[in-house]
Subunit: 313 residues, 2 copies
C-alpha cells in the first residue's frame, strides 16, 4: 500500500531493530541510500544492519561504513522488527529475503516498482533514492553529517550521471547544494567514483581500434569479439566514446558473450532504437535499447548492419 513520506518516517520511529537492504548488483544509489539510512537510524538510537547479497563495486569502496555491510550466508537468520528495502522492489534482494519474516517497508524512486502488497513510499520524480532518503532524514530530525552527506551525494551523482541525465531537477541541485554545505567535496567523490581498473582502460583501447563508421557518419560501432572480450568483463560506458561523435545518431557496441550469444547495445540521439531492437527480437527505450543474436559474431554484425541500413537508407 502506498504511504506518505511522513508515514514512512513514523514507521521507522516505531521500530527498534531494522534490517536495511537494496538490490543485487548494487550501484551508487543503492549503496549511498542504504548507508545513509543506516547511519541515520543509528543516530536515532536504533539497532540497524545492512545486508546486500552481492560483492561491492571497487570504485565505491570509499563510501563511509561500506565495510559494515554484510552478505547473507546460506540459511543465515537475522532478528529484525522491519526490513527496509530501498531502491528496488523486494524481488531483487537475493538471499536477504530468507533472513527474516519481518514486515517490509519499501522506499524507491523507480516508476516500474509495483510492489503495492507492502508498505511503499515511492517518488518517481526523485532522480535517485538518495533524494528521498535526504528528505526522510529531514523528517526524522537526523543531522546530516559529512559521512551521511557523502553517501547521499554519491547516490545522486551516480544516478544522474553527475547531473547530466534528464532526471536532474532543480530539487536535485538544491539537495546537492545542501550536501556540499554539510562537507561533501564534489571533486573527491568524482575522483573516487571514476576510478577504473587498468584492464578497463585496455579494453577501451582495444574496442576503439575496432571502430567503424557507416551511412555517411550517422552510425558508429564497436566490436568486442571473442578475443577482445577476454581483456575485461566491464564494457559499460564504451558506447559513450563513439556516441559523442558529432555526425553520429546511432552508436552501438556488439559484444561476444558466448558461442551463439552475441549482444548488441544501441544508443541514439534521435532515432528510435527501441523499434530497431524490436525488429531483431530485443527491446528497450527510444534512446537506449538492445538485442541478442543466437548466431556467430560475423552473422550478428551483418544482420545488425542490414537492419540499421534499412532505417538509414
Amino acid at each position: 500500500m502506498k504511504i506518505t513520506l511522513n508515514e514512512a518516517a513514523e514507521k521507522l520511529k516505531s521500530v527498534e531493530k531494522i534490517l536495511v537492504t537494496a538490490h543485487i548488483n548494487p550501484d551508487g544509489d543503492a549503496l549511498g541510500s542504504t548507508l545513509a539510512m543506516y547511519q541515520a537510524l543509528k543516530q536515532l538510537g536504533k539497532s540497524a544492519q545492512i545486508y546486500i547479497d552481492d560483492v561491492m563495486p571497487a570504485n565505491l569502496n570509499f563510501l563511509p561504513h561500506i565495510e559494515e555491510i554484510k552478505r547473507p550466508t546460506e540459511n543465515e537468520k537475522f532478528d529484525a522488527d522491519l526490513i527496509l528495502v530501498i531502491d528496488t522492489a523486494p524481488d531483487r534482494i537475493g538471499k536477504v529475503e530468507n533472513l527474516t519474516n519481518a514486515p517490509i517497508l519499501n522506499i524507491d524512486h523507480h516508476i516500474t516498482n509495483k510492489n503495492f502488497e507492502n508498505d511503499i513510499y515511492i517518488d518517481s520524480n526523485a532522480a535517485a533514492s538518495c533524494e528521498i532518503i535526504f528528505e526522510i532524514c529531514k523528517e526524522l530530525g537526523v543531522k546530516i553529517t559529512k559521512e551521511i552527506a557523502t553517501c547521499l551525494y554519491t547516490g545522486i551523482a551516480t544516478d544522474t550521471g553527475f547531473f547530466n541525465y534528464s532526471n536532474t531537477t532543480p530539487k536535485t541541485f538544491r539537495i546537492a547544494a545542501e550536501l556540499v554545505e554539510n562537507g561533501v567535496e564534489p571533486n573527491y567523490i568524482s575522483e573516487q567514483v571514476e576510478r577504473r581498473k587498468l584492464e578497463d582502460v585496455k579494453i577501451m583501447s582495444a574496442a576503439l581500434q575496432t571502430m567503424e563508421i557507416y551511412f555517411g557518419g550517422k552510425v558508429a560501432g564497436l566490436f568486442i569479439d571473442e578475443e577482445v572480450s577476454k581483456i575485461a568483463e566491464n564494457t559499460e560506458g564504451l558506447v559513450d566514446l563513439i556516441r559523442v561523435i558529432d555526425t553520429v545518431d546511432v552508436a552501438f557496441v556488439l559484444k561476444y558473450k558466448d558461442e551463439n550469444n552475441i549482444r548488441a547495445s544501441l544508443r541514439s540521439k534521435s532515432a528510435n532504437v527501441s523499434e530497431i531492437a524490436k525488429k531483431l527480437g530485443g527491446g528497450g527505450h527510444i534512446r537506449a535499447a538492445g538485442c541478442t543474436f543466437n548466431t556467430n559474431f560475423e552473422d550478428a554484425k551483418n544482420i545488425l548492419l542490414k537492419t540499421l541500413g534499412e532505417y538509414f537508407a
Copy 2:
C-alpha cells in the same frame, strides 16, 4: 579600481552603447557570460554588440545568438560608450582592443586578474564568470529567459567540469537549480558540449594504443609522436583517460609539437607535479603542470621518465 557588484550594475545602467568581449580561444564560460550579458543588455533597451577575436568552438555553436558574435577585421572601428571585458583581463582580447577608446568595465572570476587600472568587479570565489553575470542580471532586474539561462548554465557547467571540480560550491548548485527552473535542460547542454569530431575520437584511439605503465602502476603515459599528432590538433582530455586508473598517481601526455619542441602535460592525484615540471624547466600547479623539451621525441621521453623515476624511486 575594484568596484562592487552594485557599482558594476549601475555603470551598465548609465551607458547606452556597449561593446561586450572576452578572451581569445573562447571557452564555454567566456561565450556563455558574454552571450547572457548581451541578451540582458538588449532586454534593458541598450545597444550591444559582442566582438571576440577568434573562431567559435564547434561544440558551442548551439548557444543562443552565438551567430551574432562578430570578429574584428583589420582597422575596424566600433562606436561605444563602454567596453565590457568578461572572464579575462583586457590583455587577452586580441584586436578587439583597437575597436574603440571607450572606458573599460572588467568582470572576472580569475584570481590572477590584476587589472586594477580599470574598473573591475572580481569574485574569485565564483566558479565561473557566468555565476557573476547571473548575479548582475538579478541586480539589474533582468528576466532570466530560457536562452539566457542556457548560456549561463553552459558557462558554469564547462568551468566546473560539469560540477566535478573543486571550485563547485553550494552557490554553484543553487544557481544551477534556478537556471533549470528557468528552462535549462541539463541533458541537452551536456549532449551538445560533449560533441566530438571523428578525428578527436581517432586520436583518442591512437593515443591509447601508446599507453605505457611505469613504477608499479603509479605512473601512466601516452605518447603523441609526430605521426600520431597528424591525426588531430585537439589532444585535450586525453590525459584523463589514464588518470582514472586506480593505481595511477601521475598521468602524463608527451606530445610532438614541432622539431625539437616536445610538450609534456602532467596530472596527479597526490604527487606535486609542479615540482617535477620545475626540475625540467616548466611549471604549473600541484596537480596539473607541464614542461617543454627542446630535444627529439625519444630523448624527451627518456629525460621525463628519468625525472619521474627519481620521484617514485
